[in-house]
Symmetry: C2
Amino acid sequence: MNDSAVEASSKETSKQGLPRLADVAAHAGVSSKTVSRVVNNEANVRPQVRAQVLRSVAALGYRPNAAARALVTQRTHQIGLIATASSLYGPTAGLFSLEQAAWKAGYGLTLTTVQEASEAQLGEAIHYLMVRGVEGVIVSGVAGVLHLGTSTLADMPLVSTSPITTESAKHVLVDSDQVAGTRAAVRHLYNSGHRLIAHLAGPLGWDSAARRRDGWRLELEDLGLHPGPLLEGDWSPRSGYEAALTLDRTAATAIVVANDHMAMGAIRAFTEKGLHIPDDMSVVGFDDVPEAAYQIVPLTTVRQDFSSVAERSVHELIQLIEGRPAEETCIHLPTELIVRASTARCFGNPN
Amino acid sequence: MNDSAVEASSKETSKQGLPRLADVAAHAGVSSKTVSRVVNNEANVRPQVRAQVLRSVAALGYRPNAAARALVTQRTHQIGLIATASSLYGPTAGLFSLEQAAWKAGYGLTLTTVQEASEAQLGEAIHYLMVRGVEGVIVSGVAGVLHLGTSTLADMPLVSTSPITTESAKHVLVDSDQVAGTRAAVRHLYNSGHRLIAHLAGPLGWDSAARRRDGWRLELEDLGLHPGPLLEGDWSPRSGYEAALTLDRTAATAIVVANDHMAMGAIRAFTEKGLHIPDDMSVVGFDDVPEAAYQIVPLTTVRQDFSSVAERSVHELIQLIEGRPAEETCIHLPTELIVRASTARCFGNPN
DNA sequence: GCAAAGGTTGACAGCGCTGTCAGTAAGCGA
DNA sequence: TCGCTTACTGACAGCGCTGTCAACCTTTGC
């Protein structure tokens, strides 16, 4: 019945000086198993015993030891996240949503990064996470197709934004519908009278960059147009700037850019070349970063909902972890075209 | 001597079906303690025994169980990160550097977020991390001053970008030198002839926002100038836009903005009002986000090195974790003024 | 009033690993 | 050759917790 401060008791015997289940049990006058029941909210404990235990827990400042618990239950309730190390908006924006979704579901998030999606780096990251006992892995914003043939990840629940080369039932893809996104951008430009529509892609080794390019190309084909010039950047504003410098108004009157930051760089480059946006060149971005709406020329862009992707990813992963097989193995979330001021009617091609 | 594939052996007895130390020991014909020695790279194992054990480890695909290890060694080698949930550039940019620095030092990173830095939310986050057994905590981009009086964090190694109200020797502050940053911005504007210099601050409940404002005010005082208008935003481009809408050219010829994204919003607002940047209004940002250099009007800004802050934070934290007291409890890393095109001489005030 | 059923509690083993310490083999000087 | 040091190896306990199972204590129905 000792209700004194946190550091009160002197009987606790844990190595670290932290109180253990047994200390709480002694304090409350019950067995440690009963304390365990209370702490884990199990049924069949008399209310007054429960209350007394709770009081002792508070009095001693008891916290369960995750390692001990994990050891016996074989559950860590940890999710691993593998992300590409970059300070780019896209991959990071969903991070907090990811964490919050995991938190709500009672899971912790262990973060790890790779510089590039080489098999070696990915393998190292996976090893790192598995040693730490994660129960599932989310791979976010990693280039290319994941090859997990005989790898150690083959049997681990995994959600990725990139396709994976396994038939494992434990692998699910969750991502924005990139193809539909650039398709919508192209259609919008077409409807505005543009016929010469270029694309500034992300690094095409990245699956999402390739899919955005595919959308652009497919929509042009459906529209009966020849694809305009295809440029490639590395997602950075600088690369957008440099790529756009090489593009001529004779080659295209509009360009679909694979992300907003490259679009900003491109707009800067066009401006330098004396082209006015949108009158001389229409530009569509992708992502809808917060500052896109507040550029001097507010950016028309394809919004993707990073939060939804993150939440859905966590949801699907936890389904897999808890043994429920995935209903769909390939989930594409909708994107939305946000028309602002960087696109205009093309009067050169007045249809 | 079985060198077959990972899933080979059928003798492993772990609940999860994963091989344990004892399985490797049996496979190699040694005791589990010897395997433990090899796995942990301890001395005093005969080379050929070591080699044999290593072969068995590889053959069985053995991975040490972190929970068991943590239980007995009382070390988790995990660092907790508390960040504010937002998709803003500042707080997230250093995240990957943080992770990489932790990785190199052999630590894992567990991420958690708070919506706001209320005592309640922070307490919850801390509890979450402590239950997961982190050995130290980094608090990044959290508003205000941390009050950790009798809190459970009081005795835990902690590195923060905000000041903390404890005398604990285990708490260190690592951050960019915000004051010097805005001071440099003001001086640059002064040297360009500006005398009416406004400030658009971040949310002043945030310590970093308050310090940036202080730098602005202090430099103006040192220069013998009265502070111009002080506005407040919430770091977002939108808030910068809205704040700038209220600012008149008669009130200021230049403005120091507390981050780049608000600066972009402000530039957009000024442009809408018919003010030309930089001729009618000079704008200085803070952060130097990647797209700042590629705006239609490239942004003059105060660059802070998020990577250095992150690396230093991890370094200091690990010092604390490993029991070495901090040499400095308050570390400010330098910032650098990057002059681009959003600032110009003020001809209205020709010195 | 008694048995059966159900609710509540605790003793004990053991999760997979490492620290301790004792024991055995090898090296070495006299 | 012996005795002593040093290099290696393994038996065993136990980290803090939960699962199992047996024991006990209430209720309830008749």
